[in-house]
Every structure is written in structure tokens, then in C-alpha cells.
């Protein structure tokens, strides 16, 4: 009995407010309290989503958006992790020189930069990917450099005096000890990549979830506007959970003390 009770209490606290929110929303729409021209009721949103799910358009736009976000994120990881390792581990004085520059570059507003990317790379896929790359490289880079600085020097010395090669040192000592930071950085970057994808698609694209929303606004398709927003939130949560799960599975044995969240 207590198990059921515990489960119900937890469920109540976990999703009670969300359910209540949706119910109130529906009520406001059904009673006409919320104007139908601006606010779509949850029932209508679900119905819209259902239609999009079956005619394949939801799938199509999601795949395009996710692949864009993934490309930018993968490029950022490929550049950011080695660069962070190099800066934090091997060229410490170089990091002192280049750190402020990186800080300065990280301050560049991605939306404003989008105009520059459009100039440099045109309105094709590349400028969108460039923008995602730009925003998602900083967390990876920073956390990789933090991670490698958190490696215990005593461990490195021991491994070295036991005659381990550079590769073993990297693979067996450096990467496992900095893995927690690395994963925190990767999770942040993936979230950021998806987050920034939406404005990139809203500013210049003909497909994708961001386009779905901006198109809905232009054509005044209110249910679609809400449905698109909801899908984006859900994907954001899914990406976060995926990375939290990977983090827990792979580096759960080591919690970062101060990894930025």
C-alpha cells in the first residue's frame, strides 16, 4: 500500500502542476475566456500534432532540424574537445594569451553574427550550421580545458614513472579523469545547438521546426504555432535527458565538482 501511495505522491509532485495547467488552459479556451484567435486549446494542439504526425510532415521537419543541430554540434565537438585539451593541458601560457580572445569571441551575439555568416557563406545550409557551430563550441571548449586541468598531477607522474606511453597516458588517465567535465560540456553544447537552431531556421530556411513556426505565424495558423513550440520543447527535453542518461551511464562513477551547468 505504501508503495502505491509513494508512487502517487511522487507522480502528483512530478506532473500534477503540468496536468493542472493543461486542464485550466483547456477550460479557459472552452469557456471562451481565452480568445480563440490567439490561444489554441490543448485539444486542438493535440489534434494538430496528430495530423502532422500521420501526414509525415512532423517527421520531415524534425529530421531536418535534428540533422542540422547534430552537424553543428558534431563539428563543435570535433574542434572544441581537442582544442580545449591542447589549451588546458599542453599550452598553458598560450591559453593565458588566447583566453581573453576566446572570451571576447564568445561574447559575439549569434543573431548579429548570423548577418555576417549570411554574407560570408550565403543563405544555404552552411550558414545555419556555422551559427550552431559558433554557439555550441564554447561550452565544449571551456569544459574540456577545465577537465584537463582537473587531472590529478600525481596520477600523471605515477603513470609516467611506470613507463606508460603518451597514448596510454591520454587514454587511461587524462580522458577518464576529465570525462565528467567533458560530458557536462557536451550536454550544454547539445542543448545550446538545438536552442539556437530554431532562430537560425526562423531567419532563413524553407524547412525545419523553426520554419514551421515562423510560417505558421505568417499564415496565421495558430494551432500550428503552438504545436511547433510544443514539439521544440519536447525535443529540447529529450536531448537533455539523452545526454544526462549517457552521462550517468558512462561517467556516473565520477561527479564533477564544479562543472558549469
Amino acid at each position: 500500500m505504501t508503495a502505491i501511495h509513494d508512487f502517487l505522491t511522487r507522480a502528483f509532485y512530478k506532473c500534477g502542476s503540468l496536468v493542472l495547467f493543461v486542464l485550466l488552459w483547456q477550460l479557459a479556451c472552452s469557456t471562451g475566456l481565452a480568445p480563440e484567435t490567439f490561444v489554441a486549446s490543448p485539444a486542438v494542439i493535440v489534434k494538430t500534432l496528430w495530423i502532422y504526425l500521420w501526414d509525415g510532415s512532423l517527421y520531415k521537419h524534425s529530421v531536418i532540424s535534428l540533422s542540422r543541430a547534430f552537424t553543428g554540434f558534431a563539428l563543435a565537438t570535433l574542434v572544441g574537445v581537442p582544442l580545449g585539451f591542447l589549451l588546458g593541458g599542453w599550452f598553458k601560457s598560450f591559453e593565458r594569451i588566447i583566453g581573453p580572445l576566446l572570451y571576447f569571441l564568445a561574447q559575439f551575439n549569434p543573431f548579429a553574427l548570423f548577418s555576417v555568416f549570411l554574407l560570408l557563406f550565403g543563405i544555404g545550409e552552411f550558414s545555419k550550421v556555422a551559427m550552431i557551430f559558433w554557439v555550441s563550441i564554447w561550452p565544449v571548449l571551456y569544459n574540456a580545458s577545465l577537465g584537463i586541468r582537473s587531472v590529478d598531477p600525481a596520477q600523471v607522474k605515477v603513470a609516467r614513472s611506470l613507463g606508460s606511453s603518451k597514448f596510454t597516458l591520454l587514454w587511461k588517465i587524462v580522458i577518464p579523469s576529465s570525462a565528467a567535465y567533458l560530458f557536462a560540456g557536451l550536454r550544454l553544447s547539445a542543448g545550446t545547438a538545438f536552442f539556437m537552431l530554431i532562430p537560425a531556421e526562423m531567419m532563413g530556411a524553407s524547412r525545419g521546426l523553426g520554419w514551421l513556426i515562423i510560417n505558421a505565424q505568417v499564415n496565421y495558423l495558430i494551432p500550428r504555432l503552438y504545436a511547433g513550440t510544443l514539439v521544440i520543447v519536447i525535443f529540447g527535453f529529450l536531448i537533455d535527458y539523452l545526454f544526462r542518461f549517457l552521462e550517468w551511464r558512462l561517467v556516473g562513477w565520477k561527479r564533477p565538482e564544479a562543472a558549469l551547468s
Binding site: L101, Q107, Y142, M202, V233, I239
Partner: protein, 285 residues
């Protein structure tokens, strides 16, 4: 860490971590040689030099990536006719009003929720996290529908993007005030009001500041986006207008201006934090 992870997948303050530059510049009071003090500028100077020289040696196309001198000249032009100041002022005004409104709503709400109604707080927390994770950009069309294209829509987007970090961190901050301190104060005969002002508020303030910093960064980010979509003043508008008119040096003026303004803003908040949270003991790691 539960309070810190409230933002979930939402936007991270891109690169804010590199603000450790102050730490790199040396411990306070340490007598650094001139070379070490200016070291942190080498990178930026080299970058600007490279930027300046690249078009002349044919590395880049001058039309698309004008040298720094062209950009500075255009910036000077804008300064002299007062336009740049106008744009900066209207951007600042928007972000300050939006942030002020967010603080005005989030801090009292967070304190009273967490302090007086902990069970209600636990109940609404998932909803707050959900709402805070809605991409403000996705809401932008909605805000335009609801509030029109005027100032209100822009303020609403700044408000929305900054209110949830502040609220969530305030709730977290109040909930993690050391109960021992409260009991000790009560044991020494402090009244509820005194406990609130002398124990709870100072205990929660660092977390509130963390939330405020996050909120301010996000607010600044979305201010530019909002100004690019619909405005007739502000730095975001400057960039947008320049790019529509294909006036390339001005795009870079806007981009650099936004970066510098954002950095100044962050510095200001950090200074304020140091002054207001001066009572906290420094923890040396």
C-alpha cells in the same frame, strides 16, 4: 545541485566560463611584471592585427570582411552624428526595463513561494521548469500576435527569457538557507521578521545573483534578436538595417558594439555582486 539544474536543456550562457580571465590575470595584490599584465591583451591585439592585414595580403575579400580600420572609421562616423549613442541607449533601456520587471516579479514570488509555501513550490516546480525551457524565440511570433510589434512585445520577450532563471534560482536559494542558522537565530530570540531580513535574505542572495546573471545574459541575447526582427532603434536594429542595405562595415560595428556592450554589462554585474555580496567570506580553492 538540484537548483542549478533547473534550467535543463535551455540555453547556456555561451562562453561565460571564459570569464575566468580575471583569475588568469593573477591573484589580487600579486605584483605582476608588465609583461604578464599585458599578456592577456596579446591574443586580442594579434587577432585585430590579423583582421586588419588579411584583406591587404589577399587572404580575405575586403568587401565581405573589411579591415578593422574601415570598421573603426564607420564607428567614428556613427559616434560623431550621435546615432551610435542613440542605439546603445535604446538597447540599454529595453534590457534594463525588462530585467527590472523580471526582478520585480521573480524575487518576491520566489521568496514567498519557497519561504512560505514549500509544498506548493514543490508542486509547481515541474511547470516552472517546463515554462522556462520554452525557447523564447519560438514564442516570439506569439508575442507579436498578442502584443503587436511595439515596445511591449520586445519587453515581454526580455522579461520572459530572464524571469525563469531568476525565479528558479531564488526558490533554490531560499530553500538551501542553512536551517541551523535559522534555528540559532530563533534560539537567540530573533523575531520572524528579523530572521527573514538577517538570515534568509543574505543566505539566498548569492543564488539570486547567479540567477540574475544567467537571466541578464539570456535577456541580452534575446534583446538583440528582438531588435533584429522588429525595431527602429537599438544595436540589433543597427545590424539588421546594415545587412538589409548591404552596408558591410556597419554590420561589424554592430557586432563588435554588441559584444563590447555585453562584456561591459557583465563586468558591471560582477562589480555589483562583489559590492553587495561583500559580506560573504571568500572561499579559496
Amino acid at each position: 545541485m538540484s537548483g542549478v539544474s533547473t534550467r535543463g536543456p535551455a540555453f547556456s550562457t555561451a562562453g561565460a566560463g571564459f570569464s575566468t580571465v580575471d583569475r588568469v590575470q593573477g591573484v589580487k595584490g600579486e605584483d605582476l611584471s608588465f609583461n604578464r599584465r599585458v599578456m592577456s591583451w596579446y591574443g586580442i591585439i594579434a587577432f585585430l592585427l590579423l583582421w586588419q592585414l588579411a584583406p591587404f595580403v589577399g587572404l580575405t575579400d575586403r568587401r565581405f570582411l573589411p579591415p578593422v580600420s574601415d570598421i573603426v572609421l564607420d564607428a567614428l562616423k556613427l559616434v560623431l552624428n550621435g546615432e551610435l549613442f542613440l542605439h546603445i541607449a535604446s538597447s540599454c533601456q529595453r534590457v534594463l526595463i525588462g530585467l527590472f520587471l523580471a526582478l520585480l516579479v521573480a524575487v518576491p514570488l520566489g521568496v514567498s513561494l519557497s519561504g512560505l509555501l514549500p509544498r506548493v513550490t514543490k508542486f509547481v516546480k515541474p511547470l516552472l521548469v517546463f515554462l522556462g525551457n520554452i525557447n523564447p524565440f519560438a514564442l516570439f511570433p506569439l508575442f507579436i500576435l498578442l502584443f503587436g510589434v511595439g515596445e511591449v512585445a520586445k519587453l515581454a520577450i526580455i522579461f520572459w527569457s530572464s524571469v525563469f532563471p531568476i525565479l528558479n534560482f531564488t526558490i533554490y536559494g531560499v530553500s538551501q538557507v542553512d536551517p541551523l542558522l535559522i534555528k540559532a537565530a530563533r534560539g537567540m530570540g530573533a523575531g520572524e521578521r528579523e530572521i527573514f531580513w538577517k538570515v534568509v535574505i543574505p543566505g539566498a542572495l548569492p543564488a539570486v545573483f547567479t540567477g540574475f546573471k544567467l537571466g541578464a545574459t539570456t535577456a541580452f541575447l534575446f534583446l538583440i534578436a528582438a531588435e533584429m526582427l522588429s525595431a527602429n532603434s537599438g544595436l540589433g536594429y543597427l545590424v539588421h538595417n546594415a545587412s538589409m542595405n548591404y552596408y558591410i562595415p556597419r554590420i561589424y560595428v554592430g557586432v563588435l558594439g554588441i559584444a563590447i556592450l555585453g562584456m561591459g554589462f557583465t563586468q558591471l554585474i560582477n562589480k555589483a555582486e562583489k559590492i553587495i555580496l561583500g559580506y560573504r567570506e571568500e572561499v579559496k580553492v
